[in-house]
Symmetry: C2
Subunit: 323 residues, 2 copies
Amino acid sequence: MLANTENIVKKINQTLSKTSFGNKPKELYEPIDYMLALGGKRMRPLVSVLSYLIFKEDYEKAIKPSLSLEVFHNFTLMHDDIMDQAPLRRGQATVHEKWNPNTAILSGDVMLVKAYDLLLELEPEVLKEVITLFNQCATQVCEGQQLDMIFENRNDVTVDEYIEMIRLKTAVLLGFSMQLGGILGGAGKKDAANLYQAGVDIGLGFQLKDDLLDTFGDPAKFGKKVGGDIHSNKKTFLLIRAIELAKDKEGQELNKLLNEKDATKKISGITNLYTKLGVADEANERIQHYFNSGLESLSKVKGSIFRRGQLKQFITQLIERES
Amino acid sequence: MLANTENIVKKINQTLSKTSFGNKPKELYEPIDYMLALGGKRMRPLVSVLSYLIFKEDYEKAIKPSLSLEVFHNFTLMHDDIMDQAPLRRGQATVHEKWNPNTAILSGDVMLVKAYDLLLELEPEVLKEVITLFNQCATQVCEGQQLDMIFENRNDVTVDEYIEMIRLKTAVLLGFSMQLGGILGGAGKKDAANLYQAGVDIGLGFQLKDDLLDTFGDPAKFGKKVGGDIHSNKKTFLLIRAIELAKDKEGQELNKLLNEKDATKKISGITNLYTKLGVADEANERIQHYFNSGLESLSKVKGSIFRRGQLKQFITQLIERES
């Protein structure tokens, strides 16, 4: 198959649906299959494979170990959904809703083990390095989730703290994904480090774009309901900056709106305030900054210029996405 | 330090208390330190080190990787306690009680990652084999916990099903512990397999002994309250066999007692019935059978006869323990 983005995602999905994680007891394994079948962009294995292609063309070899990224990511979603008491994931019932929290805890646990399993195909010399990096990344993702929960109960979160939280919770996994692909492809230390840095910066931009779309997305194109973050007082970049910037009358207005019971009034009121305070523009500037910085790190990576361009193109789609 | 059981446990505890799993955010790491400081026999790292000693004398080298067994075991306890809604662990508040369930989920997750971390000191060639076996074991432990939860809602669990459940939930980890020590010490395939088999059988005997002590233990020596399993209608070997054996009048009596609200009446009534039906004797015979079978597998292991005797002595203590 031609190694373009579309075909790679197809191959990732094919391999994923052919991978058996286990059968018995079905109460343990059905939630895993359910979760992985909910879909998604498969962004993490995809950027891993695209990074692999910069160094080697036989990308089929990179698919299975790259699936560990998807399985790990879905493990974190399964457990995060319990912690956030989220009823829906990609428009479908979450595992703890469809089954129960105990099932979601235990199936999640086994998914984490299966993520390690998928790495076991690697050559022994690479395996140690990869698991070391995987562990570091996995630890940071947990730290990020813990910070996210702590921030829910704090009203004085700074922008720097927020950026550090999303770096841990979201960005380092994208960094590790690109680095993993590079290592599998035989990248040297410097190239692998640049891929990691590129992934982290792109991850930061990606998460800020998420925040922005949740408020300013086109309802016709955005998958979820626009304004969800505002409705739940979620501490996004936009809200944190608005709290910092809103003084006097605007400060009072923001406070009033945060306690407003009427959802429509609240969402439109805070959205207007964001625009007035310029925090949407600020977010856009930051997104651009992180993506540029990511692309700069990527440009330093040696290897196939064509394949690097392919990865750059995919990243550009992430910047410009509307959903 | 002289490599006797007492000193090895001391060394295990020293190394454990010197190991830092992380600091920030403290909400994530304090529960891990708390859980590991609750104590316990450190049975899993201990049998790993004792197995190592059969092949090599420099047992200090085996301590750190063997700690991964203790960290993994405590990860499963932290998550199991949430699922079982257990208020106490070793007489102290469980993590989800002292903090909250979300904290117990997330700190548990990071503990699983840290268990893998502790294996990373191994030589690359061994690492792959060990992680493969670790994953297999970890998966089975999750399967066992799932079966345990399923059995709570079933009244027709057979003895064979119960044995399979405790094999997965408890015994395979003891098997892997002994096997790990062997592999670290350079044991050949056959010796490692015999150590595994010995550990699994001893684990089965150990769990059945647990069931027995919970009902027939000496209240002055047993750590927990005697009769707890009966009080909560826990499907132990004793109850499963009693349900199978109690016919007619005894069957009616058992049914009545299972629904008895008065705890003292219930516990003494069912305990008497167990004795009358001979299920305590049956349990004792089975325990003896599994321990004998385990010791037979152990006797096939080549290496230091003295060190094998030391491991055998520890196992004998497990058979004869009263708490």
